[in-house]
Symmetry: C2
Subunit: 343 residues, 2 copies
DNA sequence: TTGTAGGCGTTATCAA
DNA sequence: TTGATAACGCCTACAA
């Protein structure tokens, strides 16, 4: 099945291959009429240029990529849109590339830089721990967004945009304490999680201690393994288990809104009124938290701004050769119905 | 910045390039010791084979791709996992490729077949209307899942797996009618939507008519344009608007669970008790519907099965040269708290 | 078991 | 403004 090549088109048009190439790539020095004619023939014959051959040959290309670990995470959807739009404004192509949980995002990035001649990269998700040595092989500007701190990279061309999960989580639990809660349970990730879950959990511990409360092992509920992620069902089942042990707590802090939703339902089914009998708080600022009944107290991350800043920093580096810059955003404590003051 | 090539490795190892190639591609006829040595050097030097050059040269590759329009749609997340797992079982690589809303999935597919030498494709999302002529250029087996009916393709190697959105939607609204509802409002997509939204809306109309109910323009609420998708917020605001017009309905059918969630909240805020004062039903079977309070009646699509069947059909075509086969799955009417019988 | 050489389809260089 | 031709980095006969 002989696929058509640029040669076939050249023959059909009775021109050289380079002229065809020029027509396709919007080169300046080509007769407009010739170009039009060629483009028409291409259109009619359904010729598809071979990208591999093209990528092999080109030396540069105005494109950036977003490498997302955990696409499907609703938190990222909004960010991606914003970044893509920004890229478009700069007339850059933007490739959205999912990264599997087991894949190494840095390896993937290295490959893509070579293959697609990327000018820059945004890393979304994952926890981005990599050896400095290897990181230095990435010769294009990149921004790690929502997945780590710049300090941990120690490499030029590296920038990070993030929310301080530790501090924000602390803020939230601190709020619960101030509301008078002393027995605050938590739903958190397994010990194997080194990502945001861990940071948020540590913020929880710190806040308790700051209020003179000794964290109680019996009030800490961890997801099992990496298999169950931050799903609503996980939160529901974990809370069911917690309640089955007749544990008494007046507040529950879930390290993700999805978990909090599941928790609310479990409490509801147990006849416990969320808000009045037991406070519940989540983290992320997902849409659902606002519309759940009761609406759920959470830490809202300024998604739009984070994404904008991510893109801006990246393009400042690419276009103006600016130094990598890092920013930490404040989350916003959004108090809602699920944490009515305890009496 | 001279990137390393297979030649550099060959030199370092004092062997020919073909030997290096053999080592990398698990070829049989190579001395195990030589191979090990080469692999070690590659590892140490951080050499990354150029994928473009490779793709340009190879004539075939055991890989399939999933082209997803609207990744981020939680409904697809589960399906993707299943399909990827199936591919793995067959020792096939599986590329997950997002397709932008404005992109033509068929063009993308054509490109990728050429570039990556795909053996098969799964199309997810979108509405997949394409000219037969162009469709015939796609010379590999493909399955259109959840985005159209095989009858509409009229091309060999084309299979479709889907749920009959029209019939299922009809089933749901029929149920509402049997519960005694006569004034059933609906939240549906804009007229520009030719995808599932349209089918579900038509199922709604048909069900009403079958019960001798004349659809009432005043009870039909459409999203504005394509800009607001099936988000919770859209459902919330649309319902707010509906209520502002003092329209009386005893039941509300939203063509997506997300819309239904937003509707529930809007009703709640208006002091209308969902279930008792007004029934609400959605469509999709999203996780949230089960955990919302009240839990939401819906049509659950058998995600797992759909995905399994999709993969099975595809690999039957690829591996056994089977004819394209199409299947329509039954959705399941899941009655929950949001549709208590009207008194 | 290994090495050499030719070609995959494109773009870039250079001469016309 | 055009056309011929040499790379791009790899795989794969084929020869050794």
């Amino acid at each position: 099945m002989g696929t058509m090549t640029i040669r076939d088109i050249a023959k059909k048009c009775k021109v050289g291959v380079s002229t065809v190439s020029r027509a396709m790539n919007n080169h300046p020095d080509i007769n407009p009429e010739t170009k039009e004619m060629i483009l028409k023939v291409i259109e009619e014959s359904g010729y598809i240029p071979n990208k591999s051959a093209r990528n092999l040959k080109i030396t540069e290309s105005d494109t950036v990529a977003i490498l997302v670990k955990g696409i499907g995470n609703p938190f990222f959807s909004g960010m991606i849109d914003v970044i893509q739009k920004k890229a478009q404004q700069h007339s850059y192509a933007c490739i959205l590339q999912p990264v599997e949980p087991f894949e190494n995002e840095l390896d993937k990035a290295l490959e893509m830089v070579q293959e697609k001649k990327l000018k820059g990269i945004v890393f979304l998700g994952g926890n981005f721990r990599h050896h400095r040595e290897k990181l230095q092989k990435l010769h294009v500007p990149f921004v790690v967004s929502t997945a780590g701190r710049a300090e941990d990279f120690g490499v030029p061309m590296a920038a990070a945009v993030s929310v301080d999960d530790f501090a924000e989580s602390h803020k939230l639990v601190d709020y619960l304490c101030r509301q008078g809660h002393r027995r605050i349970a938590t739903l958190t990730s397994a010990d194997t999680d080194l990502s945001v879950g861990k940071l948020r959990f540590e913020g929880y511990l710190k806040a308790l201690r700051d209020h003179g409360i000794q964290p109680d092992e019996n009030l800490i509920f961890k997801l099992r393994g990496d298999s169950d992620h931050f799903s609503i069902t996980s939160g529901y089942e974990l809370t069911k288990r917690a309640l089955a042990q007749h544990r008494d707590f007046t507040a529950l802090f879930a390290v993700a809104d999805t978990l909090a939703v599941g928790a609310c339902r479990a409490l509801y089914e147990a006849g416990i009124r969320v808000g009045r009998d037991c406070a519940v708080a989540g983290y992320d600022g997902l849409e659902i938290g606002q519309y759940y009944s009761p609406s759920i107290t959470t830490i809202r991350q300024p998604v739009e701004e984070i994404a904008k800043e991510t893109a801006d920093i990246l393009f400042d580096m690419i276009l103006d050769g600016k130094e990598p810059e890092s920013r930490t955003f404040q989350g916003e404590l959004v108090v809602r119905e699920s944490t009515e003051p305890a009496e």
